[in-house]
């Protein structure tokens, strides 16, 4: 038992890097996901993960399978899409879901065009699905930087993020920080997706963000514990997914996300605020 759980991580360097990378991603992606969910922007992460494709593809086409250009490309395109969609929703009557859909579709189409123009479907698969087992030192350093700056930004702007979710109109009446914080938050979303795409691929990196957050909602009704529970769920899914991938020779990205998916299903059913609790809650009640 001990051997099959810890053995792979002790024996193999690539497994060690994989576990460090995915645990770090868990710590920074999960709280970002919690705020995305609380702002009813759960699908924004998915849209953004499609939106960074042309940037990553351009980096890939120009410099080959090198993490730095792909990341910078993805980051730039992701920020352009996030800022564009955010600006349209802030300054026009259009809501952010519609503007985000418009911007990410334009970006996705560009990305597919770029990949098909010069590249094969194998290359596309690599960009889309990544591999945590192939994390090199550059990628790992990038993940460390991204997760540290995410945690720092979240703790500094925590109160503003909560206020902007809870009562945006109030925040506007007492402070001008609302708009900058919104854009900072979108930047964090893009950063974390970009950080995750070498490990999990552009499409699956959003899974480590949203699934633990959505699962954590079934366990608590307060924001700080929700973030910690989401981090724990993300970390557990990363470990379980890596082990599954190692022992059953499965691709690592889907294994990690499916583990998170299993925890999500479990939480919807058995969570403190889940289906079972609702259905079988006691009908006893207090006098006041």
């Amino acid at each position: 038992m001990f051997e099959s759980v810890f053995g792979p991580f002790i024996q193999y360097g690539f497994m060690q890097r994989a576990v460090i990378g995915s645990l770090l991603l868990s710590v920074s992606c999960a709280p970002v996901g919690v705020f995305l969910m609380l702002r009813r922007m759960s699908l924004t992460g998915d849209a953004m993960s499609h939106a960074i494709l042309p940037g990553a593809a351009l980096g890939f086409l120009l410099f080959g399978l090198d993490i730095i250009p792909m990341t910078i490309g993805g980051l730039i395109v992701g920020l352009v899409v996030a800022m564009g969609a955010g600006a349209v929703s802030r300054f026009t009557i259009q809501k952010e879901d519609a503007s985000m859909a418009a911007f990410y579709l334009i970006s996705l189409a560009l990305g597919v065009l770029l990949v098909s123009w010069r590249g094969s479907s194998v290359d596309l698969m690599h960009v889309l699905f990544g591999s945590v087992l192939a994390l090199n030192n550059a990628a790992l350093t990038l993940i460390v930087i991204i997760s540290l700056s995410t945690i720092l930004a979240l703790s500094v702007f925590w109160r503003a993020l909560v206020a902007e979710c809870l009562d945006p109109l109030f925040l506007r009446s007492v402070s001008r920080i609302g708009a900058p914080v919104h854009f900072l938050f979108l930047t964090l979303v893009v950063l974390n997706l970009v950080g995750g795409f070498q490990a999990l691929g552009t499409l699956l990196s959003v899974g480590l963000m949203m699934l633990p957050a959505a699962a954590a909602r079934f366990w608590t009704n307060q924001v700080p514990p929700m973030c910690f529970i989401a981090i724990a769920i993300a970390a557990a899914s990363s470990l379980a997914g890596l082990l599954l991938s190692y022992h059953a020779s499965l691709p690592s990205g889907p294994a990690i996300i499916l583990s998170a998916g299993a925890i999500y299903i479990l939480s919807t059913v058995a969570g403190r605020r889940g289906v079972l609790r609702n259905a079988f809650s006691s009908r006893r009640h207090k006098t006041a």
């Binding site: 609380l38 109160r159 909560v162 925040l171």
Partner: protein
Amino acid sequence: MSELCLEFENLTLGYSGHPAVHHLSGSVACGGLTAVVGANGSGKSTLMKGIAGILKPLGGRCKARYRRLAYLPQQSEVDRSFPARVIDLVSLGFWQRHGLLGRPTAADREELATVLETVGLTGFEKRPLDSLSGGQFQRALFARAMLQNADLILLDEPFNAVDTRTMKDLVALIKQWGAEDRAVLCVLHDHSLVREHFPQTMLLAREVIAWGPTKEALTAENLLRARQFQEAWDEKAPWCEPGPPKADGGISADIEKVRAHV
């Protein structure tokens, strides 16, 4: 008392080029209660948004001199499903004092308990927001406004969904604010309440019908005139050309806040 808290200079506020508040001029003194009365669509909420700086003027200016502003909108945009407790919502009132990073002190916690007691929400501290009734929620918003310690307070129909007992408590609170030399502008529909508690009244029907001591403003004749205004937009209405030339040519048509040093 005699200092001016708000000055409107030919202020026009509106949407898509149609005025909701038309050429408003006048001033509000620091300290004291003013009721804002008028029919639906007469520009009351629009004026509140304009003063709070949420809506940019179409023309003219609104000069606001205050240290802190508290604004209670008609429909608060609070996300009631957000996983927060009553104290989380009320504590937002410390924002102007602590900003982004300041930590609440022991004195703050005491003050928090005091305001919750004042609005009758003692024991509700840890209740989730989605378990509050409409009136309890409104009281929580009042508690937050108290914590803001503002010298200009804008209340937009604060007694919606509030029962008589709570309304009496809240009116007492508003009167106390007035006595503490805070300027309170309160949008109301209940004329008897206005006559009883508010010394000043602004009667709006897109334009000011009457503005002054409540007795003189809320006369039968004025109320009749206020009822007769045309609520719907007239798509074919001609552009309103400035009759008297504006002082600054209308270029700096913007909210101007002159913040006093604290």
